[in-house]
Amino acid sequence: MPARLSTAFFILFVGAILTTGIFWLFLSDRHGFTAQDEPLIAEVLNREFRQGDIIFPAPDWDIGFTRYLRDGITDISYTLHAFTKEELSDLNNNGVNVLWFVVDSEERWNDLRDRLALREQGRFPAGRSLVIKAQPAGDAVAKLFDFTDDLAQAKEVYFADANGNRDNCSWDRDRWKCGNQEWQYVGPQRTLMAGRWQKANWAHPRTERTLHVVFENTVGATALVIGTSFLERAYREENGKPVRVAVTVDGKELLKYDNENIKKLYRHRIALPEGAQMIDLSFWVKFDGARHFVFNGYLGK
């Protein structure tokens, strides 16, 4: 081999030795929450956290501060990286609940704030780390009726076949029960929608039947936001069938799409016609094997 080439590789090798030595001795543990900061972070959260709030740690790979959290604080999301600012603003419950951002540096907070259009509402230093109370600052639709929080107020929930025969679901404690099988219900849960942890309604469709979830627009909403996705178990199933989603308002179909069997959050925002009354969200599938499907969204202005 030409001497120049072997010499070049030798120099690269020496460089790699130096890089390796310096990195692993001094730089490999330079981010994350320090051991001193962790109890301070937890102290803030233990004091300030209220039910319904969500905590977003960044980085999400260092969960050392959770060692000091009080019992009952369980709404911690390690999925902030997956959210767009629009999707994050959907979590905003008109400011009732708070989003907490636990960050290891000011620099990281600045990046997050800019990427997700966050408005800082409060700041609690915890050593070098920060606990920030913030809300999405985007042009979010004001939420008037939440499909998950207000699911109990759905006008009706039922499955219909092609001939129009109906199987009605009935409200049972915290969900619409639609059959004897464990999966046959429409009900709220917190779940991962294409890697984003949030509230959504379980709505497993049935073969060749259409699931209808009907809401009455009693709040005078002029806009609708809907999000749908398959859960992991479903989209990891090869050859799983797509779910056809439709939004019909007072008998007129305003939105129709196929939620493909992939890891994707389908999110649509549509304007409602003046005086819109009955809003029918429908879900149909050719074959229901492992179709773990969820939707969320809201009516707003």
């Binding site: 081999m1 001497a3 590789f9 020496v14 030795i17 980085p59 969960i63 009952g72 989209y235 990891r236």
Partner: protein
């Protein structure tokens, strides 16, 4: 191309290095948790040990045919029959000897000893390759540099097929390269035997004969003009075929068949089932730069990127240097046909395993262990280039001996590798190099850092200390955590208290193990909700990045 002799000192040095590797692996075995696969293979080792005992008893009763009857073979070899049994037979034999009979080793170590022996054999092989093709310095230095690659060292512990098949893959190519130079019939025979065992270890090697044959064919016609007269023409063509290629069907296939008793009956059906299992192997979800790889097509860059970011930087430089060297042998001016053939051969042997997994339709089902089989070739040849570079520079300083310069640079490399190896001795499968930012950089980029519940040992003492008698622990079995056998063997090995029960239902559990994998993060959310707390009783971390956690129910 002439190869160096392997003399008495080489035997002493190579065997000493192999012994050091064996001891290093065995003495750190207690730091490496039981991976999911080991649950299956250790169970197989037990049934094989039972088979050995049964055979001895049968022989003692004069029933010499009984151990080979269809009923007996089906009884002892049906479990895990989707994998050939050569290495599992060795697991069983070692378990039978060193645990059941002699009681020299613990249950787990008696089976893991086989993997450690294959690691030692790989050390010998690397020395042999370095010594015969390059220099004694390359031979000596390659061994510690190979085993200070955290993934290689980690997998050297596991009672699995990955390090055995790494050995067989590399050995087939290296010995075949030696054969191309020396053309010794004895060596050809041993290559065929070795290849038979390789086939009876794992199906990765099925690609080798077509690759070798195709390469030979290309080289044959490329250098047709310079061939001996006896190798020309129709008859000469067959005469020119390298002997190992003839012996592979003649010797390797019988060796394969003899190594796997399961195939002795209903051969076609059972072999068909085996092929079908691997042809339609499920894909295990992996994360790669935040992309969830759960269904094909997978990115072509995946195994290349993973190799790039999971190899320590000094060894990575060697990989690139090796590729340059092989290409130089293949295309450089004035190279002989044999040198070109060997250049192409080693290039293929080193990179084909990565290329194969890179094909978008090939399932990704185990991370880098499935494509690191060419790394011994890459490391050794690349180190030869690097040390030649050191020698070139040393010539500028007459007082500096070439060997001193080379020794210093190798010592410096090993010194730099102490810290990462110490940090990742328990999490070798989660090692990422400085180029991506180590554990933190990999986690920041959402790379796969954990798999199959191996990172459990730091959690066990805490569970043992706090769990009330008969407590139930969630083992995450359905989500790529522990499997039942691994859980039972952890108890048998004394890592977990015997009265602690396992469960796969969170709602039945008092405690829960959580093995972090991005694709199974939903388990963590379910766990928080079910237990009413996000507070772990213990975390297993490296550089602040957590790998696994233990939780206790509060509601």
């Amino acid at each position: 191309m002439t190869l160096a002799r392997f003399d008495k000192w080489d035997w002493i040095l190579s065997l000493s290095l192999a012994l050091v590797v064996l001891l290093a692996v065995m003495l750190t075995s207690h730091l490496v948790g039981l991976v999911r696969d080991e649950g299956f293979y250790m169970r197989t080792a037990e049934t094989t040990a039972d088979y050995i005992q049964f055979s001895l008893d049968s022989f003692g009763r004069g029933q010499f045919a009984e151990p080979f009857s269809k009923r007996t073979i089906t009884r002892y070899f049906e479990f895990n029959s989707e994998h050939p049994t050569f290495v599992k037979n060795l697991f069983g034999l070692s378990h039978f000897l060193f645990y059941k009979k002699l009681q020299w080793l613990s249950f787990v170590d008696s089976i893991r000893l086989v993997a450690a022996l294959f690691a030692a054999a790989t050390a010998f092989l690397v020395y042999l390759f370095g010594r015969r093709f390059f220099s004694r310095m390359v031979a000596i230095a390659s061994v510690p540099l190979l085993f200070t690659m955290p993934h290689i060292f980690f997998h050297s512990h596991l009672a699995c097929f990955d390090v055995p098949i790494l050995f067989f893959w590399a050995a087939t190519f290296i010995l075949y390269a030696i054969y191309l130079v020396e053309r010794r019939a004895g060596l050809a025979f041993w290559i065929a035997v070795l290849f038979g065992w390789a086939m009876a270890t794992k199906h990765n090697v099925y690609f080798i004969p077509p690759l070798l044959a195709l390469l030979w064919l290309v080289m044959h016609f490329l250098h047709y003009r310079s061939l001996d007269a006896r190798h020309k023409g129709f008859v000469g063509f067959f005469r020119a075929v390298p002997l190992p290629l003839w012996l592979m069907p003649a010797v390797s296939l019988p060796v394969f068949f003899l190594s796997w008793p399961w195939l002795w009956y209903d051969t076609v059906k059972r072999f068909g089932n085996y092929l079908a299992f691997h042809t339609y192997h499920v894909n295990y979800t992996n994360y790669y730069f935040g992309q969830e790889l759960s269904v094909a097509p997978f990115p072509f860059s995946y195994p290349w990127g993973m190799t790039f970011f999971t190899t320590p930087a000094p060894q990575l430089v060697c990989f690139f240097a090796a590729i340059a060297l092989f290409l130089y042998w293949l295309f450089g001016r004035g190279r002989t046909p044999v040198e070109r053939h060997i250049g192409a051969l080693l290039f293929i042997g080193a990179l084909f395993p990565i290329f194969l997994i890179a094909l978008p339709s090939v399932p990704i089902f185990g991370g880098i262990k499935h494509f690191f089989t060419g790394q011994p070739i890459l490391l050794t040849a690349g180190l030869a280039v690097v040390l030649e570079g050191a020698a070139q520079l040393a010539r500028r300083w007459p007082k500096l001996r070439k060997e001193t310069a080379q020794g210093l640079v190798v010592a410096a490399a090993l010194f730099a590798l102490i810290v990462p190896n110490a940090k990742f001795v328990m999490h070798g499968a989660g090692f990422f190099n400085a180029l991506i930012g180590g554990a933190q950089g990999a986690a920041e980029n959402y790379m796969q850092r954990n798999f199959w519940g191996y990172d459990i040992l730091p959690l066990c003492p805490v569970l043992n200390a706090v769990a009330p008698p008969g407590a139930r622990v969630f083992v995450m079995g359905y989500a790529e955590g522990l499997n039942w056998n691994s859980f039972l063997y952890l108890k048998r090995e004394g890592h977990l208290r015997n009265d602690i029960q396992g469960t796969n239902e969170l709602r039945d559990a008092d405690f829960a193990f959580f093995f972090y994998e991005k694709q199974n993060e939903s388990v963590l959310y379910d766990l928080y909700r079910e237990f009413g707390t996000a507070r772990p009783l213990e975390l297993s971390e490296t550089d602040s990045v957590y790998f696994s956690a233990l939780f206790g129910r509060v509601k």
